[in-house]
Amino acid sequence: MNFHDGLSGEKIFFGLSEVINIKEIVRETFLIEISSSSQLAKSEPGQFVYIIPKMQKRTVLPRPLCIADADSETVKLIFKIRGKGTLCLSELGKGDKISVMGPLGTGFPLPREPVLLAGGGLGAAPLYFLAKKLRNNKKTSLLLGFKNSDEAYFIDEFKSIAKNVFVCTDDGSLGAGGNVVEKAGEIIKNEKVICACGPRPMLKGLSDFAGKKGLRIFVSLEERMGCGVGACLGCVVKIRRGGKEEYQRVCKEGPVFDGLEVVY
């Protein structure tokens, strides 16, 4: 198998990236930094990369991971071990090469109005990138929810780039007790937009809330993928718009969708 080494399109990089750093930041959750490219340097928050786990352990498909940060030097990704592919990724070491395609998909808008970024668990990752891009928007607040203090990560990093950072955990072991949907109701003030990433029930809860309050909401969704570039129709979610329902592609129209249009 002869993968092209550095070849790629104008907007999408496809080639080998070098692992610059990898560390376990909380149990089974890793922060990996890989080398960037001209295309990856232009990544937008909410976009993702498609990582190819070297045909190990009988895998075939690449794995989608949100971009947690990107500049012309490095791309940061945060992932949790879920199965074979993420296990292979966790076994990578500094200097290893991995095949990467990206940036892919449509990311978050960069609202000028006051905005609440709401992340649950791994969902915090793309919000870090988004928060960085929104640094100029002084009315950005952040709400990060985790199961418990053992699973919380990146809190200090978030605090270093944003002023209003709220943390909650299901069991109250860190920050306030309770989940993101409940807390959002409590902390929201004059925010007009919510940008959210996390488990589907959380996104649904936030969308219901936003609907009731008349807020706009953008959610980042996950779905099993084939091609990652919009060609196979493997990764669809149902979107209701103007009374009509249709399937849209998480890898192309998404992963970020208007939360009020998603048929959960």
């Binding site: 009988r58 075939v60 993928m225 084939g226 091609c227 196979c232 129709l233």
Partner: protein, 304 residues
Amino acid sequence: MKADISAEIGGLILKNPVMPASGTWGYGEEYAEFYAPGELGAVVVKGTTLEPRQGNKPPRIAETPAGILNSVGLQNVGVEKFISEKLPFLKKNKCTVIVNIAGDSVDDYADVARRLMDEEGVSAVEVNISCPNVKKGGIAFGVNAASASVLIKSVKKEYGRPLIAKLSPNVTDIVEIAGACIDSGADALTLINTVRGMSIDINNRRPLLPNCAGGLSGPAIKPIALRMVYEVKKATGADIIGVGGIECFEDALEFIMAGASAVQVGTANFYNPMVMPEIIAGFGEYLEKNKIGSVKDLVGVAIR
């Protein structure tokens, strides 16, 4: 002298023997980011029906050892929108366009074929006979020689350019079905569509795909596809497009030697968007290195 990597399939002349498998390469737009679609021998588009279709419920993809299962179904924009919105891009890029067609009844297929006959930009149709025949209780046309034959004849009546029948591997005797299609007017055959398979989500204690079964594709099915290409070529001599699990030049060459005149690449595009240009380059290099004049000289050489 430059090596001749052109191919001929049912009267259709292609500049090289490599094309995407239907449903895995959209309408050529997505991968244009990586290379010009006109570089390919042909572009085979997603299964196209008379009316637009929504397709199946997600999740639609599951990974299996060296393969994937899909239950995308026939989500497509319908033949009219294909012609007005998708075909122009392919024409502009000078692609040889093969339209994979599908339907629930013989009439559905015939209607799509008739509509496509009007379009000069469509060089051939590939009749996906693996779709369930709704009128006959959902049994696929492609599992029965008689119903395959009726279907091919009706499409043939409407469509005067090359007609390619795409066969399902989920049958006892592929040679019988292949023979029936050729006898009914198919100019060539595409072998194979996906193999029916399944995956269980042990955590949720249910099939991973909401549709239960899905179509298996990818490297896992390569030996099955090769066997069918070989058997059908040996028995019928028909022009064949080989497809199933091809992920590198050597795989493509196996298919050619087994009797295929051209190959399609599906799942491998998902993990290597450059796989098709790589295979095309591979043919050129191989012919030159081995001093072989033409890919055509290799078609079926492994048959005993």
